[in-house]
């Protein structure tokens, strides 16, 4: 009886373990399937255009000639602008929340900043189109043109929509991610180190520069990469304000296109196998870039918490 019972029990437990294993494996399966399907479906375009697909700046549905050059440039430029704005802003917020703010205010202010991440991206896009773009066209871009117009980046007509506006909206969207992870990392700094610093007469900034930031360096890098991964793949906010144009320009005021915005605008309209396959090729490129960036960010964050637990 006892033997039968224990056999029954261990059978049930093995079954339960196997069941949960299968569901855990479904995440891996999903990921693999996604990569394989995107790869297979973009093969026609990759065969037709070869490696030139990645660098060619031609995107001509009429002549069926496609290259990812403009889309990749647009994605990288808007993400670059977003990072230039978002990283200092986020680190400022993280320092404020971890070192400066009165304890009573830390939780509510932190929660409010994190709420920025909960606002749907379509709302950022719409707000960017109807509120930020006119402001950029009437005030910000003329001012930049007048004062920094000697740089090629700030020349040309102020249209409101374009690379610069898209980058700024992206920056606002990724600030909450970078700020909240950095704050958590800063809060992990051992108290003794900071107290020792203050005991030596350091100012708060010196503590932050020489103790808090070096201690959390990997974590901050991880946070920045997570934000970058988000910015690269963000679709709706960019599609509204990037202007959707296929030409390269030094000016950041000029309209452009990113991988995500091209997909959003053209995917359902693609007629012809090469056209569709090229669009899928674009999404594969986007997926691979974000995979690398997000993977690097996760590994950095992991090495941090792993080191702490060990």
């Amino acid at each position: 009886m006892g033997g039968a019972l224990s056999r029954f029990r261990s059978g049930g437990d093995t079954g339960f373990r196997l069941l949960t294993w299968c569901f855990a494996a479904s995440v891996v399966a999903l990921f693999t399937l996604l990569t394989v399907v995107l790869w297979n479906e973009s093969l026609p375009a990759l065969r037709t255009f070869g490696a030139r697909f990645l660098v060619s700046t031609e995107w001509n549905p009429v002549r069926e000639r496609f290259g990812a050059g403009i889309a990749i440039m647009g994605t990288l430029v808007t993400t670059g602008i977003a990072m230039l704005v978002a990283v200092p802003l986020s680190l400022g917020i993280a320092i404020f929340l971890s070192e400066l703010a009165p304890h009573r205010l830390r939780t509510p202010i932190g929660a409010a900043v994190e709420l920025l991440a909960a606002v749907p991206s379509i709302v950022y896009g719409m707000w960017g189109l109807f509120v930020v773009a006119p402001l950029m066209a009437d005030t910000v871009q003329p001012w930049l043109g007048a004062h920094l117009g000697f740089l090629p980046f700030f020349r040309g007509p102020a249209m409101g929509v374009g690379m610069l506006t898209a980058g700024l909206i992206l920056a606002l969207m990724i600030v909450p991610y970078i700020a909240s992870v950095s704050r958590d990392v800063f809060l992990m700094t051992p108290r003794e180190l900071k107290e020792a610093g203050y005991g030596l007469g350091c100012t708060t900034w010196e503590i932050i520069r020489d103790i808090v930031i070096p201690h959390g360096r990997k974590g901050v890098m991880g946070a920045v990469f997570l934000g970058m991964g988000r910015a690269l793949g963000e679709t709706m906010a960019v599609t509204f304000v990037i202007g959707n144009a296929y030409h390269l320009s030094w000016s950041l005021f000029a309209p452009g296109n990113s991988i995500a915005s091209i997909l959003a605008n053209e995917f359902t309209e693609a007629d012809g196998d090469v056209y569709l396959s090229s669009l899928i090729g674009l999404s594969l490129v986007l997926f691979l870039i974000t995979f690398l960036i997000l993977g690097a960010g996760q590994l950095w964050l992991r090495s941090l918490s792993g080191g702490k637990e060990a």
Binding site: G12, V113, P120, W127
Partner: protein, 282 residues
């Protein structure tokens, strides 16, 4: 270290701390700015007909987004029904059997990457594996895309919440002679129920505001949904179409929809977070 006068050190300190405070003020100001704009411009559109009527052609008044509200609700709930059981069981594996294992580490890493992966790529994927073989856009495809986005969130939250349950409870149940699965369902899931439910609510709130994965899966429609097998109206794609249109009254409806979706998402998110903080699991 170079010798710097105390005055200059203090000045630099004051500058940096001011900058940091300004950064926080900027963040809060942007939040208030967005919410105020959406609130002011959206409030005018939200009246009873907004929830009950079908959209009207531009120029005709009295149009509503009842069909889009219904579509978003149906697809979000379906997505949750698909993703939550899978996610909870996968999270169970990570928390109960996968501590320190290599396979579990891979699942964790891939989940964390998928959480932030571009949602438009998920839309492309679902188009290729569901929409094209079926031959038409459908609510099923939209729900599947949302479910794929929800899954990794549910997996990781479930794992976190299960790990918060003290091991002593597991040992107590096992010592009473309960098999592992019975211990999970009778003790551990019950102990972590509040945390898992709030985690699921956060995931639902996140996908409810998604647009990109629906563009090529559920598409949009100007009429009420009759089933899961046809293009289905939803709030976010409607916002996209209406905001990009040249018609003022469609813009007004889009702002109304933006207000509705933002409010719902923020209320659920804030509620879930408050519950998580006060829930006693921590």
């Amino acid at each position: 270290m170079p010798r710097v006068s105390v005055g200059r050190r203090r000045l630099l300190n004051a500058l940096v701390l001011t900058g940091s405070t300004l950064a926080a003020v900027t963040g809060l100001a942007v939040l208030v700015w967005i919410l105020a704009d959406v609130g002011i411009k959206g409030a005018g559109a939200v009246r009873w007909s907004f929830f009950t009527n079908l959209p009207t052609p531009p120029g005709m008044s009295g149009g509503g987004l009842g069909n889009a509200i219904l579509g978003t609700l149906v697809m979000t709930v379906t997505a949750a029904a698909l993703a939550v059981p899978v996610g909870i069981l996968a999270g169970t594996y990570l928390a109960e059997f996968g501590r320190g294992g290599r396979f579990a580490a891979v699942v964790r890493l891939l989940s964390d990457i998928l959480v932030s992966a571009p949602s438009i790529v998920v839309g492309v994927f679902v188009y290729l594996v569901l929409v094209r073989p079926m031959g038409h856009f459908s609510a099923w495809a939209g729900a599947a895309a949302l479910a794929i986005i929800m899954l990794p969130v549910v997996v990781r939250t479930t794992e976190e919440m299960l790990l918060l349950v003290p091991n002593a409870m597991r040992e107590a149940a096992l010592a009473m002679g309960a098999p592992y699965w019975k211990m999970m369902f009778r003790v551990i899931f019950r102990a972590s129920r509040a945390g898992i439910v709030t985690g699921v609510m956060l995931a639902v709130a996140r996908v409810a505001g998604e647009t990109a994965p629906l563009l090529f899966t559920s598409l949009n429609a100007p009429y009420w949904m009759h089933g899961m097998n046809e293009p289905t109206a939803n709030l976010t794609v409607t916002i996209f179409n209406y905001a990009m249109s040249p018609y003022e009254d469609w813009h007004a409806l889009a702002w109304g929809a933006a207000l509705l979706i933002t409010l719902s998402v923020l209320i659920v998110t804030t509620g879930a977070r408050l519950a998580m903080r006060g829930g006693g699991t921590r």
